[in-house]
Symmetry: C2
Subunit: 199 residues, 2 copies
C-alpha cells in the first residue's frame, strides 16, 4: 500500500512509520522536514499536497495541536488554535482527501484520552478529540467506494517528556509502540467508524 | 434564579422556557425576536449581551445550526458553518459567560443523538455534538466557584416537521416536553460534566 502520513516528524508519527514501513510505502508530510511540507490548517495546502502526491491507499494523521491552558485563561481566540489545527486540520484532510484515496482505502486520525478522562488545562484537547470521534463515527457510514475511517485515542506516551507526563497525574503511560499498533489495526484491518482507545 | 436562554425562539427553546418559567426568571436571547438579539457566532456580541444583562444564575443554549448535506458534498467551507455556529457559538458562551455566572450557577448546552447513532448527511452535526460533549466533560472539572456544566443530547422531536422526522429513519421521536425535562434536571440539580441523553 501507498500511505500518506501527516505528522511524520513527530514522536507518534515516527513510531507509526517504523511500525508500517516494512510492508508499505510511506510518504511523510509535516510542517517541515518531511517528504512534503504542509500546513494542514490551510485547505489550499492540503489540496495542493494531494494534487502532487496523487492517489494513495491510506491517509494517517498524527498531527495537530491544541492549547494547554487553564479553562479560565482559555479565550475564544486561543481555543481557535486547537480548532484550526487538530480539529479542522484533521477533518479537512478527510473532506479534501477522500477523492484521492483508492477504493477500499482508509483514513486514520488521532484523538486522545482527555475526552474520556479530563485533566486540568485539557479542555481544548477534549473538545477536539470529541469532535473528531463524532466525525469519524458518522463519516464511516457515508464514505464512498469502501473507504474506511477510524481514530486512535492514546493515553500519554511513556516516551513523552517528563514535564508532559507530569501533567497526567495518576495516568499509567503507554508505550508509543503499543499506540502505533492501533494504526496498524486500522490500516491493515477492515473495521470502520471505530475509536481505538490505547489507555 | 435568573436564567439566560439563548435560542429562546426555537422549538426547543420555547419548550425549555415553558418548563422553567413558572419558577425562574427567564431572559430570552436569539438572532431576533427575543428579549435580546445576539448572533452567537460573534464573540463581541456575546460579550455585549453579558455586559448588558449582568450576572445570571444559569445559561442555557438551545441554539446553533450545522449543515445537513451528504459527506461527499461537505466542503471545508460548508463544515465551517457548523463549527462557527453550533460548536464555537455554544463553547464561546461558556468561555465568555463564565465571568457572568453567579457562584454555584450552571451552563446547559445542546448536542444530539447523531454522534452516537449516525444518519446520512449528519456528519457535521455529529462532529459538533462530539466537540461539545468533550468540552463539557472537561470544563466541568475546571469551572470556578462551583459553576456546573452539562449538555442535553436529544433524539429527533415528535414535534419536528415531517420532512425533518423522515430523515431519522427508524428513530422513535421523543416529545419535546421530555427533552425540556433534562434541562430542568441540569439547572435545578447538582450534577456536572454530564450528557443527558433523551433517546
Amino acid at each position: 500500500m501507498k500511505i500518506l502520513l501527516i505528522g511524520a516528524t513527530g514522536l507518534l508519527g515516527q513510531a507509526v512509520k517504523q511500525e508500517l514501513e516494512g510492508e508499505h510505502e510511506i510518504i511523510g508530510a509535516a510542517l517541515e522536514g518531511a517528504d512534503f511540507n504542509v500546513d494542514m490548517t490551510k485547505p489550499d495546502q492540503i489540496r495542493e499536497m494531494f494534487e502532487k502526491i496523487g492517489k494513495v491507499d491510506a491517509v494517517i494523521s498524527t498531527a495537530g495541536d491544541a492549547p494547554f491552558v487553564p479553562l479560565e485563561e482559555l479565550t475564544p481566540e486561543l481555543n481557535d488554535v486547537g480548532i484550526e489545527s487538530k480539529l479542522k486540520g484533521q477533518i479537512n484532510l478527510v473532506l479534501i482527501g477522500m477523492d484521492y484515496v483508492n477504493d477500499g482505502g482508509s483514513f486514520t486520525l488521532t484523538t486522545g484520552i482527555l475526552m474520556d478522562d479530563p485533566i486540568p488545562k485539557g479542555t481544548s484537547s477534549a473538545m477536539t478529540n470529541g469532535a473528531i470521534t463524532g466525525f469519524v463515527k458518522s463519516a464511516a457510514i457515508e464514505l464512498p467506494r469502501g473507504i474506511r475511517i477510524n481514530n486512535v485515542s492514546p493515553n500519554v506516551f511513556s516516551e513523552a517528556s517528563k514535564e508532559h507526563r507530569d501533567t497526567f497525574q495518576g495516568f499509567e503511560p503507554v508505550s508509543i509502540e503499543k499506540v502505533a499498533l492501533a494504526f496498524r489495526k486500522s490500516v491493515n484491518g477492515k473495521q470502520t467508524g471505530q475509536t481505538y482507545k490505547v489507555y
